[in-house]
Amino acid sequence: MRPALTIFAVASAFGLAGCGSNSDNQSAPKSEAARDAAGDKTIASGLGDGDRKFADAAKAAGLDATLAGPGPYTVLVPTDAAFDKLPAGALDTLMKAEARPQLTKVLTGHILPGAILTADIAKAIDNSKGKATLATVGNGTLTATREGGKIVLSDAAGGKAVIGAADDKRSNGVVHHIDGVLMPS
């Protein structure tokens, strides 16, 4: 399943989607037992002040529901400072309605299946002669190496990001903060 990039025509943004006439969008639908199971300490609820840009991007892509669901996922959250390192205007372009599929693809490139702690990444690096590969749910792969005692992640485009504040265990996975935005190929 390798997504190719095409642009969907977007009939409307959230506004219309949020106006279901027979559903209360404020409360969890009863069918989403997932939300109860995930508890109130989800990845979504744990995104803090320094994660605003990631949280906004996730919401725009509709992934806030994923990050509040049962998961589990390992999420590499680029800090706001990380987003600021992108070329001027890049984030604005990505956040436009017509770029939604690209935005979603960038975000899913930061989400890994299961729960991976930095100790697990470090062990994999050691077992793989210094270079481990990590699959994302978006069908991309990241390469993990160790440099100067820190774990460095490299994306398919050659970009790099360093894991900072890590191993934030949530009810539905784990969050590691990174200092760069990873890009798909």
């Binding site: 399943m1 390798r2 219309l16 559903s23 979603t104 299961g114 697990d120």
Partner: protein
């Protein structure tokens, strides 16, 4: 190697309990009773009516009843006399136990026959706090007992089918390509298959590895693959009730997109069906690595509720990207890497991997 003591009298073969034959009807008794009426606004593709009827059916009560029946009665599963005899043979070979287990084992064996080597999981297990894993090295089977859920005392088999991949794989269409000459159906042509009879050479075709735990044959449907699609076939009339593109559009849908009519049937992978049933004003649809939530009136996407990697399946090699141990935190005390076994998580399941060959040897129904 961890070993557990066998409980006396536990049958070696597992029980399949197709309790959730029609999850689309609404997981827990909140069936979409007004299914037909509610969806009048949304145009449906061919076969839409039958699909609506299906979803309107079956509240939780019906499903619970089926689960009781199929637990103890092999007849529910159809299948021919041959399957029964084969099941009996297997059971004798194992040297098992109670009559109840025998009937359950027969039911399972018949399902095995029908599903042609489907990894042979029972229907979705309730989330159990305790698993006991027993490995029978002679037969290469792993048995999992779930003492705390509804299936207490029943055992589910997870089969190593190393040769599965050689039998009738679906066409391996490259993602994004749907030209006629590469063996994949263009979406327009595929849509015409709704309500049609399944092409006979697909009748025996196994699903690609990673989908076998997601779409399991049940009392109402069986799933086969070909020409770039998974087909959901109605047992009662052998007609195609739904199509799931193996590669889809190659893209994530956006909030506000309308769900395509051709694929508008309840196709959430089995392991997620208790979480995401079509009720409460929402419908759930799977495509290409994501489960989407739709407003059930308009069919417009208003959220992505889950992301599925679709990478792991029993019988295949561990693909690239699974170097790191990723078992969910709650399960790490039971499933941890040793020299003899690795464990890797994907899409609701924990998989057991042989570290030397990198072959995925078993799947353990775990998470959701």
């Amino acid at each position: 190697m961890r070993k557990f003591l066998l409980a006396a009298g536990v049958a070696a073969l597992a029980i399949a309990t197709p309790a959730f034959a029609d999850k689309g009807g609404g997981g827990h008794g909140g069936g979409n009773g007004g299914g037909g009426g509610q969806k009048a606004d949304r145009a449906q593709g061919g076969g839409g009516q039958s699909m609506k009827a299906e979803r309107g059916n079956g509240g939780g009560h019906q499903m619970r009843q089926m689960s009781n029946d199929s637990g103890g009665n092999g007849k529910d599963h159809g299948g021919g006399g041959k399957a029964m005899r084969q099941a009996s043979g297997d059971i004798r070979a194992h040297g098992h136990g109670a009559q109840k287990d025998l009937r359950q084992a027969q039911a399972h064996a018949m399902r095995e026959q029908k599903s042609h080597g489907n990894a042979g999981h029972a229907m979705r297990e309730m989330r159990a706090d305790n698993h006991r894993r027993v490995e029978d090295k002679n037969r290469g089977l792993a048995r999992i007992e779930h003492p705390r859920d509804d299936n207490y005392g029943q055992v589910r088999i997870v089969r190593r089918d190393f040769n599965d991949g050689l039998r009738g794989l679906a066409n391996n269409c490259p993602p994004g390509l749907d030209k006629k000459d590469n063996g994949c159906l263009p979406p327009g042509q595929a849509a015409k298959l709704l309500g049609a009879r399944l092409q006979s050479n697909f009748a025996e075709t196994l699903l690609p590895y990673q989908y076998r735990s997601w779409y399991r044959d049940d009392q109402q449907h069986f799933y086969r693959a070909g020409d770039g699609y998974i087909y959901q076939v109605n047992r009662s009339n052998n007609l195609i009730d739904g199509l799931i593109p193996l590669f889809g559009s190659g893209n994530y849908y956006s909030l506000g997109d309308q769900w395509p009519q051709s694929y508008d049937f309840y196709n959430v992978p089995y392991q997620y069906r208790d979480y995401y049933a079509d009720t409460g004003g929402y419908d759930y649809r799977y495509s290409d690595g994501a489960i989407y939530r739709l407003n059930s009136n308009s069919g417009v996407i208003d959220g992505i509720v889950a992301l599925l990697a679709g990478d792991l399946g029993v019988g295949q090699q561990l693909p690239m990207g699974y170097d790191a141990y990723n078992v969910p935190l709650d399960y790490r005390d039971r499933y941890y890497d040793t020299a003899d076994n690795w464990y890797r998580y994907n899409d609701g399941y924990i998989y057991q991997v042989d570290p030397k060959t990198r072959l995925i040897s078993a799947v353990i129904n775990a998470i959701v």
